[in-house]
């Protein structure tokens, strides 16, 4: 099935988000749809998926003009949209998820479990998978959940699959698993649209690419003809300067821990971070680093072991105690943990400091605004008015607001968990710069990330975790992507 989108335009109010964009896909092709957040990728895909109507332009499938006004129509035409947030129900079995809304019934209206399981097995065998159709979705890891979504698309005979940043929360092995499935689909003649910020993955799996920037189609062609640098340049519109990591002057030990264990996620963890230092914690998904620092921050599991902050023994029971000890924490999964969608931008940006900025019993709104405006400028947050909803911002700018919320509290120790998740290339660089600037100001920064290059880029020292333990500490020449991967995958043991 060949897809051709021609001259697609779309505007929201006065804001033109797509300007005569063209896009095509052949059967058996994997094409990358690239662009920074806000470039118009989602809008284009939502038009294809029947979520949004286009203002102008035509969509052709095998030369026939089509139009989708609902997601169902698009699905019926063989286009499956796998969203970043997976639409699976954890408490149902795999086969039930696959058939949800289209259950096979026997003539009395009773569910025909056997037929559904058979069909599911059929799809799995076609895709070369060995999964138990009756297993609960809850028990699957992120990659298999992704795979179940794809299976659902296959069950519906989808000929085009849109995958929106499928690898964001996956580990290397899980990514390989998804990629091999994508290759199988490709052989079956399915066309795949792969949206990702990870250019090395694009190089690995895709045949062709289309780059959007500010609603315009910048370039498209065969992957064989480009390099990651060239793609990155097209996406941001200028060279991505990979600044050399500055060496920070570090001061006294700001936080140290010895033999922290919670008996579930992490075991016997000891580390220390000096002020003015950026220290990375990395490992594969499930290594326990997020749980470790959630616990350190007082929001996770209870742990044994001791911690010292500024040389004084510290026991933290709750985030508010952590805040008063000068710890800041930018969590992973911005949507669930970072932003409060019903509060405006200013309120989101002052959520931490609000309670201490008072005039009598009331909020000192003048000071709150002043402080936020300063952070807004320092972090160059691109936004409208302070009272606009937080959801009106792009991912990168939302993340900056979450950062601003902490920076206005002047933390001495700042924990950043996956700080560039769902953030485009340009904003990523800016966040790295902010991290380095904070260290220069004497903040002890702890960066948690599963992306090795991010650790190498930001940190002067790094701990590699594996199954809840710190395996090694890398520094200087040893701190490189290769060495990190060797330890993180457990290959070095």
């Amino acid at each position: 099935m060949n897809l051709n989108m021609k001259g697609i335009s779309k505007s929201f109010g006065a804001n033109l988000v797509l300007d005569k964009v063209s896009f095509s896909l052949h059967s058996g092709e994997i094409t990358a749809l690239l662009g920074e957040n806000g470039a118009g990728k989602s809008t284009l895909m939502n038009i294809l998926g029947g979520v949004l109507p286009a203002d102008e332009g035509v969509i052709e499938i095998d030369g026939q003009a089509v139009g989708f006004s609902t997601p169902k129509e698009s699905l019926d035409a063989g286009i499956a949209f796998i969203h970043q947030e997976l639409n699976l129900i954890n408490d149902l079995a795999i086969y039930e998820n696959l058939f949800i809304g289209r259950e096979i019934r026997s003539k009395w209206g009773i569910l025909d479990k056997k037929a559904m399981i058979e069909k599911t097995e059929e799809v799995f065998s076609r895709m070369g998978l060995s999964l138990d159709p009756e297993a609960m979705v809850r028990t699957l890891d992120a990659s298999y959940k992704q795979i179940v979504e794809i299976s659902r698309a296959m069950l519906m005979d989808a000929r085009i699959v849109i995958m929106d940043e499928p690898t964001t929360s996956l580990t290397e092995t899980e990514i390989d698993r998804v990629f091999s499935l994508m290759r199988t689909l490709k052989k079956e003649g399915v066309g795949i649209i792969f949206i990702s910020h990870k250019l090395n993955e694009v190089m690995e799996i895709c045949d062709s690419y289309t780059v959007l920037r500010d609603g315009h189609m910048i370039s498209s062609g065969s992957i064989g003809d480009v390099t990651t640098d060239a793609l990155a340049k097209m996406m941001v519109g200028h060279d991505v300067v990979e600044e050399k990591r500055a060496v920070h002057k570090s001061g006294a030990v700001a936080i140290s821990a010895s033999s922290l264990s919670d008996g579930i996620f992490f075991n016997d963890i000891s580390f220390s971070v000096r002020s003015g230092e950026v220290v990375g914690f990395t490992g594969l998904l499930g290594d326990g680093r997020s749980e470790l620092f959630l616990s350190v921050f007082g929001a996770g599991t209870k742990h044994t072991g001791t911690m010292e902050i500024d040389g004084k023994a510290a026991v933290i029971h709750s985030p508010s105690e952590a805040v008063s000890l000068g710890i800041g924490y930018v969590p992973r999964n911005r949507k669930e943990n970072g932003i409060v969608k019903d509060l405006d931008i200013l309120e989101n940006g002052s959520l931490v400091t609000m309670r201490s900025r008072k005039k009598g019993p009331f909020l000192d709104s003048g000071r709150i605004k002043e402080e936020f405006d300063k952070e807004k400028k320092d972090l160059s947050i691109k936004m409208g008015r302070n009272i606009d909803p937080i959801t009106s911002l792009s991912g990168g700018n939302q993340q900056k607001v979450v950062l601003a919320k902490w920076l206005s509290a002047d933390p001495k120790i700042l924990i950043l968990d996956n700080p560039t998740q769902g953030v485009d290339v340009g904003a990523k660089e800016e966040i790295y710069t902010i991290i380095s600037r904070l260290a220069d100001k004497g903040v002890a920064v702890i960066v948690l990330s599963s992306e090795a290059h991010e650790i190498v880029r930001t940190s002067s020292r790094c701990y590699v975790m594996y199954h809840g333990r710190i395996l090694t500490e890398l520094e200087g020449d040893n701190l490189n992507e290769h060495e990190i991967m060797r330890w993180a995958t457990g290959a070095a043991i």
């Binding site: 921050f297 929001a299 709750s318 985030p319 508010s320 952590a322 805040v323 924490y329 969590p331 669930e336 943990n337 970072g338 932003i339 409060v340 969608k341 019903d342 509060l343 309120e347 959520l351 931490v352 609000m354 309670r355 900025r357 008072k358 019993p361 009331f362 909020l363 709104s365 919320k405």
Partner: protein, 345 residues
């Protein structure tokens, strides 16, 4: 030319408000009902002065009769914004009422009378005890919900059953009487109009409005309701916010209870306050507060109480049988939410 132009602008403005402001349609409905109410009230008076005084008297009646629910609905707004609910308000109202009456009782059974305290000091102590009881009951509910991790619906359902039942049992043989002086709290009249409950309601509404908009606690209420996890990770003491919300709810039920006892001069432990929880919740919902938490406003709730009250009055004026009035309340709740929903898209 000038005139058509301004007319056009009005339509544009109206459409904009209708689509963008979720409470605008509710306000319009209130206005419409107020107009219908004027018509229903009739114009058969001799002079405009007479008509006006009848009209004003009618309004004071409406507001006074709804002040109790109005005050409870203010607390309920905070509770619902945090994503919770309080089903116990009607029962705690009775329990608190019983406590107040035991203290202010002028006869031999009165606690304070036995100690030789009567009159205003006794009333003051009675009121304080009532408010304290409300605060403690609310705080206890909050502790059940936060530390006990019981869903608000279940915790308050339990409290609802406990409070009324225990009160009825305890008050079986005691029959306290409310002294005349105490009834003046609600029934104090200026120019034969008893509007004190309205004054209390409006003062509390104003305070609650300020708290919701201009204090850290107020904003935290919204934050917790919208995204509890992000709030917690921002160092907000989520449990404290929730406990305070239920404590404030209890305190306001205490105020409502003082008014109820003062206004009626007695309390029917089996029936007083029953259905108040649903009336308060209905007003909050009609006022545009989301049951899912995170969104809502005190102003909306006041509007919600008014719209239900005015509708009741209107139905009364045009002679709709009492049994049917509740149905109209149901229609208003569903209709208001439908209208607000449509505008969101």
């Amino acid at each position: 030319m000038e005139k058509t132009n301004s007319g056009f602008n009005f339509i544009k403005w109206f459409r904009k408000m209708w689509t963008q402001h979720p409470l605008f349609s509710t306000a319009c409905a209130l206005l419409l009902m107020a107009v219908l109410q004027i018509i229903a009230l009739g114009f058969d008076q001799a002079t405009f002065g007479e008509w006006l005084s009848r009209y004003v008297r009618n309004w004071i009646n409406i507001l006074r009769n709804n002040a109790t629910i109005g005050i409870i609905a203010l607390g309920m707004t905070f509770v619902i914004i945090t994503g919770g609910i309080d089903l116990a308000v009607g029962s705690t109202l009775v329990a608190i009422g019983a406590i107040i009456m035991l203290f202010i009782d002028g006869s031999q059974t009165g606690i304070l009378t036995a100690l030789g305290i009567t009159g205003v000091p006794a009333y003051m102590i009675g009121i304080l005890m009532g408010l304290l009881a409300g605060l403690l009951l609310g705080e206890f509910t909050g502790v059940l919900i936060t530390i006990g991790r019981i869903p608000p619906f279940i915790a308050t359902l339990g409290m609802m059953k406990i409070c009324r039942s225990v009160t009825q049992q305890c008050m079986q043989t005691i029959n306290p009487s409310v002294p005349m002086g105490f009834t003046r709290i609600a029934n104090f009249a200026v120019g034969r109009q008893m509007f004190m409950p309205i004054v209390y309601w409006l003062i509390i509404a104003f305070i609650m409005y300020w708290v919701s908009k201009h204090t850290a606690f107020g904003r935290h209420v919204f934050a917790v309701g919208s995204n509890e996890r992000a709030s917690k990770l921002s160092g907000i003491n989520v449990n404290r916010v929730k406990r305070m919300v239920y404590a404030i709810m209890g305190l306001l039920v205490g105020v409502a209870s003082v008014l109820q006892v003062s206004r009626i001069g007695a309390m029917d432990y089996a029936n007083a306050g029953s259905g108040y929880e649903m009336d308060a919740i209905a007003a909050v919902i009609v006022g545009g507060t989301s049951m899912a938490g995170g969104r809502g406003s005190i102003g909306g709730t006041v509007l919600g109480v008014l719209i239900i009250a005015v509708m009741n009055n209107l139905l009364n004026l045009i002679g709709v049988p009492p049994f049917l009035r509740e149905a109209f309340k149901g229609v208003i709740v569903i209709g208001a939410v439908l209208l607000q929903k449509k505008e969101k898209n």
